[in-house]
């Protein structure tokens, strides 16, 4: 089998064929492929000038939009790899990522609040210094490092190889049949790897990318689809809940769409009911995959006539592994149940600078008679009638509105805010913190303290004061008992 083309080569190829076609359509400005590639070459020149003679480690400290996308390709062109800032996260958390990544170069802009960038050379996104880079420098093994919630309060950096990104990009463009006629949404924050699908899927195939930046547009996304005439929509399923609440899932609002693709949390049968009621002729892709296996590595193609057969679980089935990737269920009582273990070119190299966490989740495993590098996801799944369904987590990782979160991360923030003994559980997508205290608790003050270190979605919705946390035989906090307390709603004071 031919190795997949590198994403950078794909960008240059489409830019040569369609130089005047819009690459990125912003609010006030549109960048043609000619403009975009010029920006990539210029930034690559500035990045390479910052650290001559090595693979630069580049941190992108920019909002979603043409400049940040260009900085990603520019890093690859300069032979480096990048990480990105989540500008919605508190400054302390943004700084933690920069400190852990310890970049050689930071690409940023004057209107973005700066952090302490340490020893890094700072390059302005609109920089002209150094001149355009003519030819790509030799590639590094890695393409990017995405930092996700870690169970100790310290973010975990997932190291994705460039060959894995190339594999994923090729799959995305092929399976979604992307063409230059496509107008594609860019909704996910660029610090979440779902954005990789939009950015590489669109810009490596000559399509036009439409970042959704304005706050009003982010909360009326179907209106944005309608106004821009988008053909492809990509988001976490939670965004459908916003559309539904605003009664925006209609034939008129969705008129231009041909394909909606979802990832990041379970898609629900009634999400599909709403979509197909509005647009019976549209196609929906449900996909599954952790950041540790490059965005997604399964696909289920859903159409109105057939989707009901994939709705036998509480959430919609997530399909079969994509070509080249392996998905095995391990540790269950039968072959139809177990922890999802992933193999193939998209599996990450491990966690940035963290051998212990890497060893806990990544190891060689004997699968189908071959010893393979495997990621143990912690997701438990079940097979029924040929379909695979997500069942539960086997650890304390949860999704809140599509955001991945380790409950240990929240517990650590509680300790940082002065809580001596506390524990968090997620019930029906809401976080509940239980705090051991003899008397009342100043919840207002605690919230303010948590907001300094946690992103908004990680701050518990409810705080429960208990005289003593329930513990199991090993003296560990009994999460099941806490969950039962929330579900029974009996006698819990807030």
């Amino acid at each position: 089998m031919q190795p997949p083309l590198d994403p950078l080569d794909r960008l240059f190829t489409v830019a040569t064929r369609f130089p005047d076609h819009p690459a990125v359509v912003g609010e006030a400005e549109t960048w043609s492929y000619r403009d975009f590639v010029r920006m990539v070459r210029t930034l690559a020149g500035a990045i390479a000038a910052g650290v001559p003679g090595q693979h630069p480690r580049v941190h992108i400290h920019l909002p979603q939009g043409a400049h940040s996308y260009a900085a990603m390709f520019a890093t690859l062109m300069a032979g480096g790899f990048y990480s990105t800032t989540n500008l919605c996260a508190p400054a302390i958390r943004q700084q933690q990522v920069v400190d852990l990544f310890d970049p050689d170069v930071v690409v940023t802009a004057t209107d973005v609040p700066a952090l302490d960038f340490g020893r890094a050379a700072v390059v302005a996104a609109e920089s002209q210094q150094g001149g355009e880079l003519e030819a790509a420098l030799p590639a590094h093994d890695l393409a990017y490092v995405f930092f996700t919630s870690g169970s100790t309060g310290q973010p975990k950096g997932v190291m994705i190889p460039r060959s894995g990104l190339a594999h994923y990009t090729e799959w995305a463009i092929t399976s979604m049949a992307v063409t230059p006629d496509d107008r594609w949404s860019q909704h996910p924050n660029i610090a979440f790897d779902l954005s990789v699908l939009d950015i590489y899927g669109a810009l490596c195939a000559g399509a036009s990318l439409h970042p959704i930046v304005r706050r009003g547009d982010r909360l009326s996304p179907a209106e944005f689809i309608h106004r821009r005439g988008l053909t492809i929509w990509d988001s976490v399923p939670s965004v459908l809940d916003i559309m539904r609440q605003r009664k925006e899932i209609t034939a008129e609002r969705f008129a231009s769409l041909r394909l909606l693709t979802f990832c990041g949390e379970p898609l629900l049968p009634d999400h599909l009911d709403a979509i197909f009621a509005a647009r019976p002729d549209v196609v929906v892709h449900n996909t599954y995959g952790p950041t540790e296996a490059t965005v997604s590595c399964t696909l289920l193609r859903l159409e109105r006539e057939t989707y009901k057969a994939a709705c036998a679980g509480p959430s919609v089935a997530f399909g079969d592994p994509i070509p080249g990737m392996g998905l095995t269920l391990i540790g269950g009582e039968s072959a139809d149940e177990g922890e999802i273990v992933l193999t193939g070119p998209q599996v990450a190299r491990g966690y940035w600078g963290d051998r212990t966490q890497t060893a806990a989740a990544f190891r060689m495993a004997m699968i189908d008679g071959n010893l393979q590098w495997a990621y143990h996801t912690g997701d438990w799944a079940k097979r029924r009638d040929g379909h695979t369904y997500f069942a539960t987590r086997i650890d304390r990782q949860v999704k809140i509105h599509g955001n991945r979160l380790e409950l240990g991360d929240v517990d650590a923030a509680l300790r940082g805010a002065g809580v001596i003994s506390g524990a968090t559980v997620a019930v029906s997508g809401q976080l509940h913190a239980f705090i051991e205290a003899q008397e009342g608790l100043d919840v207002g003050r605690l919230r303010v303290a948590l907001a300094r270190t946690l992103p908004a979605y990680a701050i518990p919705t409810a705080f429960h004061v208990v005289a003593e946390l329930p513990r199991n035989a090993n003296d560990k906090v009994d999460s099941r008992a806490l969950t039962a307390m929330v579900e029974s709603k009996g006698g819990i004071g807030c």
Partner: protein, 85 residues
């Protein structure tokens, strides 16, 4: 037609039960408080608030027409609802 102060009171009344439950108060909310950045609501709860205001006033609030600067503020909601100039 509602004044900004009346809209503020209406928003405070809608939010009060949820805020009380998490140990917060609606008292400090002014016409220019960013309800999302100020931690009073998350984006889903903001959508719920906007829907509740629409039902109460029988109007349509065009979120896409709201500017980033006054988004999720009482004055922004008033403008988007056509209540204030």
């Amino acid at each position: 037609m509602l004044t900004i102060a009346e809209l503020r009171d209406l928003v405070a009344e809608i939010l009060a039960p949820d805020l009380e439950r998490v140990g917060m108060s609606a008292k400090a909310i002014t016409a220019d408080t960013d309800l999302i950045k100020g931690g009073y609501v998350d984006s889903m709860a903001f959508i719920g608030l906007v829907t509740a205001v629409e039902e109460k006033l029988g109007c349509h609030i065009d979120l896409a027409a709201m500017e980033d600067e006054d988004f999720a503020t009482i004055s922004g909601i008033a403008r988007a609802a056509g209540l204030a100039g």
